[in-house]
């Protein structure tokens, strides 16, 4: 019987820490549990790391280091929590589905965790084995493949409940010794994220993206844009006012009491669309449908919603259920679009643009929501210092896509 070669195991962790200093806190927080039941190495959701002595014996130190980083990545990226949520959302049950989640989680990790001092372990699952592209999230991979003969090579794969959320028999469970509580797990993940944010230069992009989002999962832009427009449209001052025109409906029941009466006229919304060549039709289409839907949902009548297409010229088109015609294709100056919008006396102006435009210098009298299509910065060869202006302070900006 082989005893656990602790020296080798910890030497591998030391090598992992040396090549990935920003993961040190997380690697050191793992509690090692020797286990004959785990095939290789596995983690549970309480940050225990189960290690097979036979696996340590047959694996070289540099590969073991890669496995350490791989296992801790499952925990840092909350693969068990995400697996549970995905399973609940799609009503997936059974060990087969959990194996699929383990494979997808491995895909997410393995495409950028190795190299630069770390060796990819023998037989690691990478997306290219299923002819899938690199650089995606576990949830995306899960939509792209099913279990079948082509995944048979991965059937041995078992990173423990920390990777796929399915509790194993050999694991110590929530009551066992040396587990980390939820708050402690968050604290470790937070410290790692802070470490990464502190030295972004030496960290791969996948980790940078993780550190940015770990405690602020990106909200879908549809929700944000909807909330911004709804709040602009329904805020006091937009389309509603107190009136002496008619008494409150409760007045007759309460003689001697003066009751205010609230009247509401539907808000007038003007959508200014940047139809310059730099904005693609697909982008515009999805955003415009979204805006029209939201405005209708909050009670905007069709005749109160106007749409302006704006490149160097401004063209007006009415918002119709069957579709909106947009004219354009040249450069942009949204200032003329805003000026023209003002003539419709709107309560709210929604501008959809990629931001490569000058903005009005003074605050307009209406509320402004900007749906911004993100663009990588293009360097102008004639004027390398040129930066497009950021949307003004008074506008609420939602990044789309």
């Amino acid at each position: 019987m082989i005893t656990l070669d602790a020296e080798k195991l910890y030497a591998a962790r030391l090598h992992a820490v040396r090549s990935r200093p920003y993961l040190a806190t997380a690697l050191f927080a793992l509690q090692v549990v020797e286990s004959w039941r785990v095939p290789t190495m596995g983690v549970d959701r309480h940050w225990r790391c189960y290690v097979s002595p036979a696996f340590v014996d047959r694996t070289p130190v540099e590969e073991l280091a890669g496995v350490w980083v791989h296992e801790v990545s499952h925990l840092l990226r909350d693969h068990h929590g995400r697996s549970d949520r995905f399973a609940a959302e799609h009503e997936l049950t059974g060990p087969g589905e959990r194996l699929r989640m383990n494979i997808a989680a491995d895909f997410e990790i393995n495409d950028d965790v190795y190299g630069d001092g770390l060796v990819r372990p023998e037989g690691a699952a990478v997306p290219s084995l299923l002819t899938l592209p690199d650089g995606h999230l576990m949830e995306e991979y899960l939509r792209w493949f099913r279990l079948g003969p082509h995944t048979d090579d991965f059937a041995w794969l078992d990173c423990g409940s920390g990777a796929d959320g399915l509790d194993r028999e050999w694991e110590l469970g929530p009551g066992g010794a040396h587990g980390l509580s939820e708050q402690e797990r968050d604290a470790v993940r937070f410290r790692v994220a802070q470490g990464i944010a502190g030295r972004p230069g030496s960290v791969p992009r996948g980790w940078l993206r993780w550190a940015e989002r770990v405690f602020h999962p990106p909200q879908p832009w549809r929700d944000l844009l909807g909330a911004a427009i709804r709040s602009a449209v329904s805020a006091s001052g937009a389309g509603e006012d107190y009136t002496y025109g008619r008494p409150a409906r409760r007045s007759t029941a309460l003689p001697g009491v003066v009751l205010p009466s609230l009247r509401r006229r539907p808000p007038r919304v003007c959508v200014v669309v940047d139809t310059s060549g730099s904005v693609s039709d697909a982008e515009l289409g999805s955003a415009l449908v979204e805006v029209a839907g939201i405005v209708r949902a909050v009670g905007g009548r069709r005749d109160l919603v106007s749409v302006l297409s704006c490149d160097t010229r401004v063209t007006e088109s009415m918002c119709r259920a069957e579709g909106i015609t947009l004219v354009g294709g040249g450069g942009t100056d949204l200032r003329s679009g805003f000026a023209r919008a003002l003539r419709t006396r709107p309560d709210v102006v929604v501008a959809l643009t990629d931001g490569q435009t000058p903005w009005p210098t003074t605050r307009p009298p209406h509320r402004t929501v900007v749906g911004l299509f993100p663009r990588p910065r293009v360097v102008d060869e004639d004027d390398p210092d040129y930066r497009p202006d950021a949307p003004p302070e008074w506008a609420r900006v939602v990044t789309i896509g």
Partner: protein, 403 residues
């Protein structure tokens, strides 16, 4: 033959015949503490997940009568007060008459006021309600200190008409996310609902708790001045908690209450993240963890009695702290004590943790200091380090060969 409704009543009685079982409930503990601390709480949660049931349990536990006001069926004047024209308005003025529930609350002097469905109320009603929550005034009445207020709102993405807090308002609330626990729901529908034991303040701990909370928050903010005030800039974080002097004061109060009640870090985590936001909240919690760690100076003074933390990452922090303390004031006796601590760390835990501190400590040696005998016992760490070095060389050679 029994009347049809009598049979129905029997069936209803059978259905409502459920039992309870004790079960820890972090959400409810956090809510209880925030309400005891007299801070306005805002529960964010989808409709129908048991917010009202939780409030009923809370009212029972605090022994307060519960008044529920559904905001969406009221008019602004129900909260701002109804102007009643008297005999001579020019002399007496026009009083703002409060609604009956407010009068009853004030007369009772104590109670739990639950403002439900804030998000579906029209904006003007919401505006009137915020005055109730923040200034505790309803018309001409002021709510007595014995009245505690909890409000509930649906998350922004699911709210039909976009209830949203401006940053100054968001800054005044303890934001608690309310979610249902799948197991609890299934088991409850099966006939057994959970019964939470709620935290109680220990009268003997009060002054210690205040001192601890003040020290924690002040030391953190002294070290990290940027954390004091950060307006939310990101659209996704609007309407949520953010750090400011006001919300730090709330955090301080919550730390003191949590300490006096002895609740878990999970509960405290929900609370402080609910007032200052995730990032600053986690920093405060990390700071509290660090305050729990042994002081390097104490360890150096008596290494024989030292107890190092079990968890590797905390142990690493302590050992780094010890070496740093020696570097700041290098003395022979302190240097020896540090070696003794490293040997202790090696005897009681993983060897790779000791490698870096040992190397740093070795560099601090002065010429006339003799190498302590204890250093021989660090050979395990040395061989671990050598194994890792060799692995690094092999990786280097392999990638070099490929290039």
């Amino acid at each position: 033959m029994p009347a049809a409704l009598d049979v129905a009543a029997d069936l209803l009685a059978l259905l409502s015949d459920t039992t309870t079982e004790p079960r820890a409930d972090n959400q409810l503990e956090a809510l209880t503490l925030a309400v005891s601390a007299d801070l306005p709480v805002l529960l964010w949660g989808e409709p129908g997940i048991g917010k009202t049931a939780a409030l009923t349990q809370l009212a029972d536990a605090l022994d307060l009568p519960l008044t529920t006001v559904i905001a969406s069926v009221h008019e602004p004047s129900d909260f701002a007060g109804l102007p009643v024209v008297g005999d001579d308005p020019a002399v007496q003025g026009v009083p703002m008459a409060p609604p009956d529930w407010a009068v009853r609350l004030v007369r009772a002097g104590r109670g739990l006021l639950f403002l439900d469905e804030l998000s579906t109320a029209p904006p003007a009603v919401q505006a009137a309600l915020l005055r109730v929550v923040l200034e505790r005034r309803i018309g001409a009445l002021t709510l007595p200190p014995g009245v505690r207020i909890v409000a509930a709102a649906n998350p922004r993405s699911s709210a039909a008409d976009g209830w949203e807090l401006s940053p100054p308002l968001a800054n005044r609330f303890v934001h608690l996310q309310w979610a249902h626990d799948h197991d609890v729901v299934v088991r409850g529908l099966g006939g057994t609902w959970p019964r939470a034991t709620l935290p109680l303040l220990d009268p003997g701990l009060l002054s210690d708790a205040v001192a601890f909370a003040r020290r924690a928050v002040c030391e953190l903010l002294a070290a990290r001045p940027a954390l004091v005030h950060q307006l939310p800039t990101n659209e996704a974080r609007r309407g949520g908690p953010w750090p400011s002097p006001r919300s730090w004061e709330m955090a301080l109060r919550l730390v003191a209450f949590a300490t006096a009640a002895g609740v878990s870090r999970e509960v405290l985590s929900m609370l402080v993240r609910g007032v200052v936001g995730d990032g600053p909240g986690l920093e405060l919690l990390a700071w509290l963890d660090r305050m729990d760690l042994p002081d390097p100076e104490v360890l150096l003074a008596d290494p024989a009695a030292a107890v190092l933390p079990e968890r590797g990452d905390l142990r690493q922090t302590v050992l780094d702290g010890v070496v740093e303390a020696v570097r700041r004031r290098p003395e022979r006796s302190r240097w020896d004590a540090a070696w003794a601590l490293l040997v202790l760390a090696l005897d009681t835990g993983a060897p790779d943790l000791v490698v870096v501190p040992a190397a740093t400590l070795a560099v601090l040696r002065r010429d006339d200091w003799e190498v302590p005998a204890a250093i021989d016992r660090l050979s395990d760490a040395v061989s671990v380090s050598r194994l890792a070095d060799r692995a690094a060389d092999r990786v280097e050679a392999r990638s070099g060969g490929r290039r």
